[in-house]
Structures are given as structure tokens and as C-alpha cells.
Amino acid sequence: MSASESEAVSTPKYTALSRGLPANALGLGLRLPHYPYLFEHWPELGYLEVISENFMGDAEPPARHLARIRERYSVVMHGVGLNLLSHEPLSETYLDGLCRLADKLDAPFVTDHLCWTGSHGYNHHDLLPLPYVPQLIELAAERAHYVQKRLDRPFGLENLSSYVSFNESSMSEHEFYTRVVHEAGCHYMLDINNIYVSSQNHGFDPHTYLRAIDYARVLQVHLAGHSREPDGTIVDTHDRPVCDEVWQLYAAAWQLGGPFPTLLEWDASIPPMPVALAELARATTVRTERTVRG
């Protein structure tokens, strides 16, 4: 029996990292248009991921819906507002809200991005890049370590998709990323689509990137679709199916370090939930084919 066949029939492995999620779990990013289908059909799904900030406020409807969902599924949290690499200190108010939500959901893990999102009193609501320089490794690692301690659960940093690179950068993105995660003692939230997008925009080898990752520290992998601007820049739009090149990278990552929980993000032009679930199910096929071929 091949590794892929045994995956389908045996009891899934549970990793200490993911605190109860099957190591090969398939999950979907929960978005508003999913609610009607979800509440009617409760499809079989390894877990759901919520955008943390959408549920940190006081509004009652999101909290009520999430409580219903949590009764049936494990829910992990993915943030877009931590602002890890701002020149300003982390917001303790924000972290209080994050911790409250993580406790309420008993979230197996929490993730956010290795980036900055605001400065000088502004919140730009975007995941913004910086030069990859040694002096930022210490800052990022200290803060990520602190966040993980505050959360009292595994915290993962996601690699960014970016459209600019800086002359001041003195190391590769993957070197910067792996050193931050290592020094922080935190985890990877490895976005395969982001690796592809940035590799195309900046001209690096995505396979070298994948080989640099310590897969024992990967909390989960993200997959998504992207679009191409007229000038050739690839933008991380999450508005379509995953492209073949990203599936190939996913298969390569699985071979290098699988199993790991895998999640599909679809944030714009969101299709009916069965379409998203079918796209997610391709992950099993892709890694099975690859394992059999390999």
C-alpha cells in the first residue's frame, strides 16, 4: 500500500502543533456567502479558518453565526491586522481582543503575516513589504515570540505575496522568513500561492524557497488563486481557482514535508460553496498523484 492509499483509509495523524487537527486536514476560509450553504448542509470539512478581525468586535450577528459553526467544526484564526513589523509597538488592545477570541474558539492555532499594516496612526488595511535586512529579524522575532506567549497557543507567520522589492534587501525572502520563525520559536503559515506570486514578481526559484522550510514547524498551508496585471505583475487576488503551477508547488511541498493541514482561501468573486469545496478536494488528488508518481 502506497503512502497515499494509506492516507485515505487509516486514522489521520494528529500533530502536537495543530492541537487536535488531523495532520492532513482540509479546511476552507470562512466567508459571508458561505453561511446559507453551511447552515443547511454542514458539509464534511476538516476545519474552517476565520479572519480574526471580522469577529473581534461587539457585533452580535457574526458572533452568533460563529458560535453555531464552532459547535460543528474546529476553527483556526488568521489575522490581517497584527502589524508585526511597524515601527510602532504592537497594540495591546488588539492583542487583548485576539486572545479573547482565541480562547472563546479554543482555536488550535492563530496566524498572521510577516509584514506591516500601518504606521503613524494610520491603518492601511494591506499587507505591506519591507526590505529583508538583518536588523528586522530581531524585531520581528521578539514580537512574534511575545505574541505566541500572549496567545498561549501556536502562532504562525505567513509569508507575504509582494509586488515590490527593495534595493536595501541584503538577503532572500526565504532566508529572512526562516530566520524570523527560528529565532521567534514560532511557526510557519506557509502560503504556497504567495511563494509563487512573489517568485514570479521578483524572479526567484520557488523550489529553493520550499526546500528552506522546516516542515516540522508548519501549522498549515494556504492555497489560493491570483490574477495577472497588464504589465505582467501577478496580484494575490484570491478570486479564482488555484493555478496548475501552484498545485505543482503544493505537491512538491507535500513531498518535502507533508502531511500538513491545507486550507483554500477564496475572497473575491466567491463561488457557491460546493465549487470551493471541489477545488479544495483537488489537494488530495494532487498530492496522491504526486506521491504515486514520486
Partner: protein, 290 residues
Amino acid sequence: MNRAATDAWLADLQRRFGEVLRTPLDAASGTLRAQTSRYGSPLAAAVQGDARERLAVYNRQYWFRLLTVMQTSWPLTARLLGMFHFNLHAQQYLLEHPPAHYDLHAVTLGFDRYLADNLRSEAVFRGPRDVPVPKAILLEATAVDAAFARVFHAPAEPRFDPRKHSPNELVQCKLVSSAAYARVDERWPLVELRFTLRDDTSESAVALPSPLTAAQTWAFFRNAQGVAHLRLEPLQARLFTLLDRHPLGEALAHLEVEAPPEARATLPEQTRAWIAHGIANAFWIGLQRV
């Protein structure tokens, strides 16, 4: 580089990047375009390759994300103006009130006040041919959108249970309104228009509705499906206004005096039904001693 020097370098870089993001999009061509020539040279020089075009991706993303959340939060206002003209007002508002909170919805709060303060000395245009729209309709539309958003985003609150209070308490105390309940008055049929537009993804300006023969009041409140709306009878609306200001006993007395003679016979029964409906739909959360 020590930590202080790193912080200063980072602050400078992030200030410059933030300025690029907030550079307004140009609408002169009829579509919103990035003005790459306005980006600061030091940042452009720090970025590899075709720096200005790459920075424009972030500049456009910043604005499209904010304009989308504005359109979502102010759907009726947006469709009365048409998206292009709405975006121009929204962009100006966002330049003066850029986002500061991690909750993206927070940036939308205050657009109604901004329009009310800024439209007095401006003509308001809409649609592809720059047809003027009466400001009064537009401001009424912002009130409808704002009420809907207030109700949707209200926190969970305890329900008012009259059985927990003595008859004396009920009569002598004021009812405390729930944050998840709002009333709006309208002179144009905008509330129903808002709900009919819910599944309409068009960006064009909708036809301006004709004014109503008489103003009417709607209640917005939450139910299991989301935000519900109910058109109130004139006396029902008056009762709820009186309940905002007076203890229950006084409100009922005022209503009886104000009601036209032909309505007085059925008023007690109607009043009981209106209040019971309000309690059942959590319009109030408790009593306040006066």
C-alpha cells in the same frame, strides 16, 4: 544599526510608503487611475525595477479596498449617486478621515455627517450625465444606510422582560432602547429601495423615486435572518417617539391626547399590540427610573 536607528529608518520608510498609498486616484479620465508621478522620489528610488508601476499596485489596492467597504456600508447612497460619483465623495471623505482602526468597518462611520456638513455648499451630481440629485434625498439615504449599519453592528444585549417588573414600575419608568433597534423617517420611498437593491450588483445610478404623499417611519431591528424592517403606523411611530422621551404612563397619556378622535376607541388595544410587538422583537432592553 542599533535599535533606535532601526526604528528611525523604519519610521521614515513607512511614512513614505503610507504617503504613496494615500495618494488619491485621479478621476479626470472617467475611471480611477493611479497618479504615479506624485509618488515621492526617495521611495521610488529605493524600490527595484519599474518602481512606480509596482507601487501603483499597492496604491490602487488601498483605494479599491476602502471604496469597496464604503460602497458596501452605504449601498443606497452609492446607488443614488452611481458608483463613480459616490467614489469621488468617498475618496474625499477618506482623504480627510483615513483609516486608523484595525476594524475596516470603523472607517465608514461618519460618512453621513461628512456629507451633511460638506454638501451644503456643493451641487450633488450623479449618473453618467452629471444629473443633479436633491441633497435632501441623499441625506435621507445616508440616514437609512446608517440606521441599518447601526442595527447590524450592535452588540448582543439582554431582552426586556416586563414580567420582571411591577405594574407601577412599568408605568413610571422609561423604556431603554436596544442598540439593535432604530427608526428612520422618510419622505421618499428609500427603505424599500435599499432592500430591493440588496442583490443588484449594478454600478449605475438608480432612477430617483418620486416623493411620498406623506412622510412615513420605519423600524429596523434584528431577527434570525439579519436586519428586518417594518413600516410603522403613524400613531405607532408617534408612540415610539414618545417612549424615547417619557415614562410609559406619560407617553400613553400624551398619545391619547394627540390621537384623532376617530382613533381613540381602538387606541388601547392597538397600543398594547404595538408594545407587545416591540417587546417580542427586542426593541428595548430594560427600564430606566426617571
